[in-house]
Assembly symmetry: C2
Homo-oligomer: 282 residues x 2
């Protein structure tokens, strides 16, 4: 596995591959790999001639007071895990290689980013869309692999691809969970054992909400209210949001009559965890 640290090297590698007609798959990550990341690499490996993984803890998607400095890192381990999945190129730029001191250009996806994590974390998706646009321009992927745990991120990047005419296919990949249902997340490493047990409330609350909708409940606000109550019954959990929204526009869903996203963000200890469930209501 090649490890490339500069935009120039990564760009040259991607151009070479393109010129040879090789399909490039990109897995954009912030590192500290878990089974969720590895599942994206595996899917890319199965579908692409060149698999590039970017590893960059992107400062512009963290707000003031968020966990940028504390974000877990283990570059050696990450390289070993990626190599074992058959990744061809690890693109791991330094911060200074990605942002000039007077960096001034940002990509904003409007509306979609007004709700959920966009509302809780102002500027987060501006940072995400900007760094992904940069990664697309440097790595020139035909396909980019994103996990559905960050469902809003998937919709933001899909919209950016369409609106800015990026010639990239976003591949949606399923959430990977621990045996007890907790979604894999690098931030699970922040949890004490007791907090880790409490974290099961996210998935349990989502499954309960999904069950209500399947049994005919069509009032989005009622489902969201019970979702919040279920989470609040867990003493270690503080709800950031608990919502039922349109799965495409992410706008609040009064009446559930088509594809709905049930989404939660919950603080447990010093971790902020997210999870979601898409429910098709016929």
């Amino acid at each position: 596995m090649q490890i490339l640290k500069t935009v120039r090297e990564m760009r040259a590698r991607a151009e070479d591959a393109r010129r040879s007609g090789v399909i490039i798959g990109l897995v954009p990550t912030m590192g500290f790999f878990h089974e969720g990341h590895l599942s994206l690499m595996r899917r890319a490996r199965a579908e692409c001639g060149l698999v590039a993984v970017s590893l960059f803890v992107n400062p512009t998607q963290f707000g003031p007071g968020e966990d940028l400095a504390a974000y877990p890192r283990d570059f050696e381990r990450d390289c070993a895990l990626a190599a074992a999945e058959g990744v061809d190129v690890m693109f791991a730029p330094e911060g200074a290689a990605m942002y000039a001191d007077d960096h001034a250009t940002f990509v904003n996806v409007e509306r979609l980013t007004a709700s959920l994590c966009g509302a809780s974390r102002p500027g987060h998706f501006r940072g995400v869309a900007t760094v992904v646009a940069k990664l697309f321009n440097v790595c020139r992927p035909h396909r980019a692999y994103f996990g559905l745990k960050d469902y809003q991120q998937v919709r933001v990047i899909e919209t950016m691809i369409r609106d800015l005419d990026f010639d990239v296919e976003l591949v949606r990949c399923p959430i990977v969970r621990e045996p007890d249902g907790v979604a894999m997340s690098s931030r699970n490493s922040y949890l004490s054992p007791e907090e880790r047990r409490a974290a099961t409330i996210l998935r349990r609350s989502l499954v309960a909400a999904g069950g209500q909708i399947e049994q005919g409940e069509r009032d989005g606000a009622a489902v969201a209210r019970r979702l919040r109550e279920t989470i609040e019954a867990e003493p270690l959990a503080r709800v950031d949001y608990a919502e039922v929204v349109d799965a495409e526009s992410l706008a609040p869903l009064g009446r559930i009559d088509h594809s709905a996203l049930v989404a939660v963000a919950v603080r447990i200890g010093r971790a902020r965890l997210i999870d979601n469930l898409v429910v098709e209501a016929g």
Copy 2:
């Protein structure tokens, strides 16, 4: 000359050229060609294997009450002129081909767009940067040709290219002028003969300001004040702005001690005209 109306066709043509190792030059325009546009096409023709001209009157760079509907158009004549310059591809998409009804993604270049035309025309450069990002992604140019009459636009696009890692070289091309010094502009067509004579005040005021700086004047505010007074002496002219700024950052320049941009925007009749002069002060 091929005329392509869809993103799909243009993308395929560009990909073909890239795969064959052909250098692509893009001249982005809003049509109604004059000698300024043609000079860009000639330069691109001399330097590139495939010359693409985009012709799109981009709605997102016009504000409410601006001249989007009135903007002059003559597609047949434009095609004849471009063909005569040896242009290979005219990319002339319809509005609906470029913007989905629920288009939501915009590229913002901050700071640089706070002054000059960015201050007079809120949202203008957001529209410009967004459409140029789209054109870069569809036409995949190695080089893009921009005229220096829109000096701030050149700086905005140069910054976007750097910040978002577009693999495009922006080629700065000199302002082309009429014999009496008036900068070529599609909007000159709005002028009555009397207004057209009054329009010489832009260039004359810039030359006078340049002369003052060459003679040792270093007070940016004083130069800007006399610049404005010179223009205001023309009864048909209303100053939109008349400024002396840093030629790179476009921030106001108190003391002129390096590269300065003297820039004016002036309303004459229903036209808003711009012009500028870069002065090197040692």
